[in-house]
Homo-oligomer: 127 residues x 2
Amino acid sequence: MSFLDEVPWDAAGLIAAVTQDAASGRVLTVAWMNRAALAETVRLGEAVYWSRSRQRLWRKGEQSGHVQKVLEVRLDCDADAVLLKVEQVGGVACHTGRESCFFRKLEDGRWVAADPVLKDPATIYGK
Amino acid sequence: MSFLDEVPWDAAGLIAAVTQDAASGRVLTVAWMNRAALAETVRLGEAVYWSRSRQRLWRKGEQSGHVQKVLEVRLDCDADAVLLKVEQVGGVACHTGRESCFFRKLEDGRWVAADPVLKDPATIYGK
């Protein structure tokens, strides 16, 4: 019996994966994993997701170098989400060059970009 | 233009909602919201989710009293998840009586309950 068998994968074979910086507690990303992604994440000790847009395994940081080193993996009570506690290499999780993908805050009924861009995406992705 | 219109609700009309204790940084729950749930959450200042199992709006704490007072609402870069920073009334988010729903930790290939039960569920739900 593998820990993978205890996950009730949804109709698309996925589970939501919340990733949190282990040091700061900041929630960095929400992404998706299939069985292979979770298995690879645990095997490598680095976050591997399932890209729904590209329909393939996506090793976080494969292009940017902003790898997420996994320190802890948790499962919630109804087993429809996993939580990764990670060390975010480079301090940037978002493709916009920000620490977290959750950089927009609701203020007076509007989403406002509330966090600084730490690295120019053109530099990150060499475009 | 409402902030609700900027959310690209999925095929089922939902968005993932990650809820984090604002003080401790602990990720408490992952749940789902439809448009009405997010609107109500912002209007009330308390977390309201869409229960997929019961197919109805679910005001967190409606039975248990363990309401989540919302201090901040954030949206991620591709707008497929919201993050709530909350004050968790009663210090218990999980129906098992634990602080967080993510109480199972992967250890040596097994999910192990790693957090204490703070309140007896029988007491919480009066069963």
